[in-house]
Amino acid sequence: MGVSGVNLLELRGVSKTFVSGFLFFRRKVVAVDKVSFSIPGEKPTVFVLAGESGSGKSTIARIILRFIKPDEGEVLYRGRNILAFNSKELLLYRREVQAVFQDPYSAFNPVYPVDHILSITARRMGVAQGKEVDEVIDEALVSVGLRPEEIRGKYPYQLSGGQRQRVLLARALILRPKLIVADEPVSMLDASLRAEILNLMLDLKAKHGVSFLYITHDLSTASYVGDYIAVLYKGSLVEMGPIDDVISSPYHPYTQLLMSSIPVPDPSRRWQERVAAPEVSAARGPVSGCKFYDRCPLRKEECRRAPPTLKKIGNRYVACYLY
């Protein structure tokens, strides 16, 4: 994981806590808990950030995109701390690190046709002015497999979910980014459309050298596009490594639980045992020890005392007392 050269993106000990309520009803939620990982820079990579809701993955995305500031830790883009950027550097950063979100409908302002955000991106980010803008937009639309005549001037509601998501990818591509943060980009699309967007991502990686931070809870799509994977549980990193290895033989009990819970689209391979993990109530206070203790079938006494640290085992990292 980033052995030589400068990493494309690196998180070091990033933490973020959200406080809600006031006076006696203060609630502290630790969304991200000292997370560190790095996306290598030598070649285009799809780095998967996997976890369920509440794992902190979306918060990490927003931190990387500089929508919120972490309480602790650093985020380095090509070795430079993004939190220290001035507005000019931030603009350059935003040209290289872009995003695609989960809901392809709400990403558009319904009052304007979809060209609106495309032309704003081209003009405001300094890619083109005046007449060139249209060329740049058309080029981007073509590179995501859309025909400009079918898309220009249309309102978001006139396009299908797949088309909208493609337009959003086109928007990101206008800037020729190095990294696209894709937060659940296909979870709201139908199965048959997912394939085209996922294939598009792979093509963009191969032809345009774009790396992806692919954030998802769906390990099937993750294994299709991913190179590396980092698994998050309640804000902490529990396992990290090359995706094929982690998926075929998960080390951490939570990863094992995740893998076994994926419904396999094959009726001859049905779940046999019950899921032993009991339901967790929504309200949880601060916890000492490993966060997965309650649900872990392999827990020991020492797991309760202090949270395990990330250890390197072979070609991956695991945070578990079993190792």
Partner: protein, 292 residues
């Protein structure tokens, strides 16, 4: 691609026309109101200003071909007075509604967008102004001020017209702020100001329009209420003043129906047309009927 731009402008006009045609209530209501205004203007132009002077004709004449609505106690042509008051009441309504909606929307927007202390303070003010009985306070204030002009009346009523738009626009701003396309606009390089004006405003305009109509209706009625109590602009004619005169002179008891009935009917008519417009706008804002 100037060709597309031209087609787009044409498309926009067609869209607006279709929109107006579909939303009958708004169109008809506005037309009905404007008709009343036009009629009043016509009357004012057709009649000489002497017909408003005291002693122009015999007092308290019932309607006749020479005096279509009769005369009041000072011998003035009631038709002309009615026309004038329709226009004056409209002016008061416009001033109150415009200032109230603009000021309220600005306050509400800043409050919702920035949050924090700004929000806290302005919410305090808004809630106070919303919860006090506005009419009583208006009565109090205007009884302390000896004489009011039309403009001053408009401003006075605006004082209590701003809280409601403030609250609504604040709610809109709060929810808009978090919408995903706003994040995306920021990611695409739009400055905060551009985002407010270009991305958020189109969503707030329908609400501001609805608030404007609301404030307008409320202002006209409030003016009538204040003037009937004798707190109106004594020197100029408004619908309320036109009701104050007959009420103060026992017109109902004396059976002088042409003195009090026409302004009342005019008031009800204006109110009704605006109410229809308001219904139409509410339908537009209701998400179910919205295509966009």
């Amino acid at each position: 691609m100037s060709g597309t731009k031209g087609i787009r402008k044409y498309r926009n006009i067609v869209k607006v026309l279709a929109f107006l045609r579909r939303n009958n209530k708004v169109t008809y209501g506005v037309i009905a109101y404007l008709a009343a205004l036009l009629l009043s203007a016509f009357v004012l132009v057709a009649y000489s200003p002497r017909s408003k002077v005291v002693g122009y004709a015999d007092p308290l004449l019932p309607p006749s071909p020479q005096h279509l609505l009769g005369t009041d106690i000072l011998g003035r042509e009631l038709l002309v007075l009615l026309a004038e008051s329709v226009i004056n009441s409209t002016v008061i309504g416009l001033i109150a509604a415009t200032i109230g909606t603009l000021a309220g929307s600005l306050i509400g927007f800043l409050s919702g967008y920035y949050g924090g202390k700004v929000d806290y303070v302005s919410r305090l003010f808004t809630d106070v102004f919303l919860s006090v009985p506005s009419l009583l306070f208006l009565i109090l204030i205007s009884s302390l001020v000896r004489a009011v002009t039309i403009v001053q009346m408009g401003l006075l009523i605006a004082l209590f017209a701003w809280p409601w738009p403030a609250r609504q626009v604040r709610a809109q701003a709060l929810s808009l702020k978090e919408r995903e396309f706003i994040y995306l606009s920021e990611l695409s390089g739009e400055s905060k100001l551009e985002i407010i004006i270009r991305e958020m405003m189109p969503h707030m305009i329908p609400w501001m329009t609805a608030n404007f109509v609301n404030a307008f209706i409320s202002a006209i009625l409030t003016e009538a209420e204040l003037s009937i109590l004798g707190l109106g602009p004594q020197t100029e004619m408004t619908l309320g003043m036109l009701l104050w005169w007959p009420l103060n002179n026992a017109a109902i008891y004396r059976g002088l129906w042409w003195w009090w009935a026409p302004p009342l009917i005019a008031l009800i008519y204006l109110f009704f047309t605006l109410y229809v417009v308001q219904l139409g706008i509410t339908e537009i804002i209701n998400p179910r009927s919205r295509v966009v």
